[in-house]
Symmetry: D2
Subunit: 146 residues, 4 copies
Amino acid sequence: METGQTPFIHRHVIGWGECDPAGIIYTPRVIDFVVEAIEAWYPAALGITWTEMRQSRNTGVPMVRAKCDFIKAPVPDLELFVEVRVAAIGRSSITFTVTGRDGAGDDYFRARMVSCYTDLTDVSAKEIDSDLRERMVAYQTSCNDS
Amino acid sequence: METGQTPFIHRHVIGWGECDPAGIIYTPRVIDFVVEAIEAWYPAALGITWTEMRQSRNTGVPMVRAKCDFIKAPVPDLELFVEVRVAAIGRSSITFTVTGRDGAGDDYFRARMVSCYTDLTDVSAKEIDSDLRERMVAYQTSCNDS
Amino acid sequence: METGQTPFIHRHVIGWGECDPAGIIYTPRVIDFVVEAIEAWYPAALGITWTEMRQSRNTGVPMVRAKCDFIKAPVPDLELFVEVRVAAIGRSSITFTVTGRDGAGDDYFRARMVSCYTDLTDVSAKEIDSDLRERMVAYQTSCNDS
Amino acid sequence: METGQTPFIHRHVIGWGECDPAGIIYTPRVIDFVVEAIEAWYPAALGITWTEMRQSRNTGVPMVRAKCDFIKAPVPDLELFVEVRVAAIGRSSITFTVTGRDGAGDDYFRARMVSCYTDLTDVSAKEIDSDLRERMVAYQTSCNDS
């Protein structure tokens, strides 16, 4: 994300090796794109990477629920723009909606991912730290305004 | 699947490279396990592989919808038993419920995957061939009885 | 590649899911980066993608030999610049040297990959088409001059 | 490995998603098979997994050099038998030769992988612990005798 760009967009060009003998995407790869876009969203929107969260806060944000509609099958060399929005913020859960589109604006997939703010020592849910929560809310507001 | 075993179980030992710096599964890999179990189910339950479907029927069965709850995070060397059940059979859709358990019977993930019987020339839905539909129904019945 | 940039550089930011429980790259992923850089090199340097080669020439360029030294272990969020050079052009073989560096110019890996100009009908070697050979030679010359 | 089986053989059935639009293996996946076979070799031949090595000895064995000849392209559903042999044992290096064959004994790939006994705190080479070295030598001898 360039600073200030909302919603956050993560670009991905479909690789040959991500497609299968039918010549179209091997569908599990779409979940990779969704999670990679969320990973890239953290430093862009919250100013912290997953590695920094682990090192300085002993915290991870693994997915606890995934839902995805595969609308159109991407093919090799397709340039996808994967948009990340925050749908809901709970005590320890963060819900994202992630949409993959081509340059013409056609949707290829729409996902809803629930992640959990997690203490990495015992892999248990904990309350989202207030500084990060504030930035999440700010991002959410910024997307609604745009 | 050994012949006659229902429901079909696909074994997977979690690899080191499937886990991330938090020491637990990188969640998109779970979707790989789910789809790999479904892939293995086809020859076991229907007597036909995806490659044979493509070559002899110009047909594929890509996922059109995925839903997954990640209940417990697998770690390296964990032996998982991934169970495949047929939840529903439509005109061209086949819905699977796929559950990953350890040897003690604890659930690690539960997925619901909708796949679509697809003509590979124009990547469009078509009616499930009757011979395969019969075997799907037989499998479903067999699971309900067991 | 921006037009005219030689040697071609492919950028890759190391993902969380590409690293293992030791917190460093899972080494097979490096081979992915090497081949993805070569894939991106084709349209940039030769003006043709692997998909276009398959569709218009029934040709593929699979790897037949790989050699890689893993010098330094990449960690999550590292920005890598993967440089692609043509080391040798045979009757049907194209040999690449591919080097991954960080922004400071430190080497992380150095690979030598031999690919084979391949007829996809019977998966057998064939002579490189003259128009593509010319562009390969031009690229090689351009790198030597820069 | 069944106890006492030498050399160690790791079975892998080629998945649909491991193959590319040309209908054959996406070559980087072969390196995955090679490293997965080596990972499985550790508990089978040395009685210790990579996770146990990390937890009890703060040690990893990442690859530092890979070399692979891709002889024949695997296709979906092919059952491969990946054989792991120890070629050389240095002060801190272990060199494997890994060969992938089908059921008829035809070779699909031959790799030579050098791994390094590594202290995970500073990611530096250290001398192989004597108990593991003894078992490596025993395995090597056992393979030569068989």
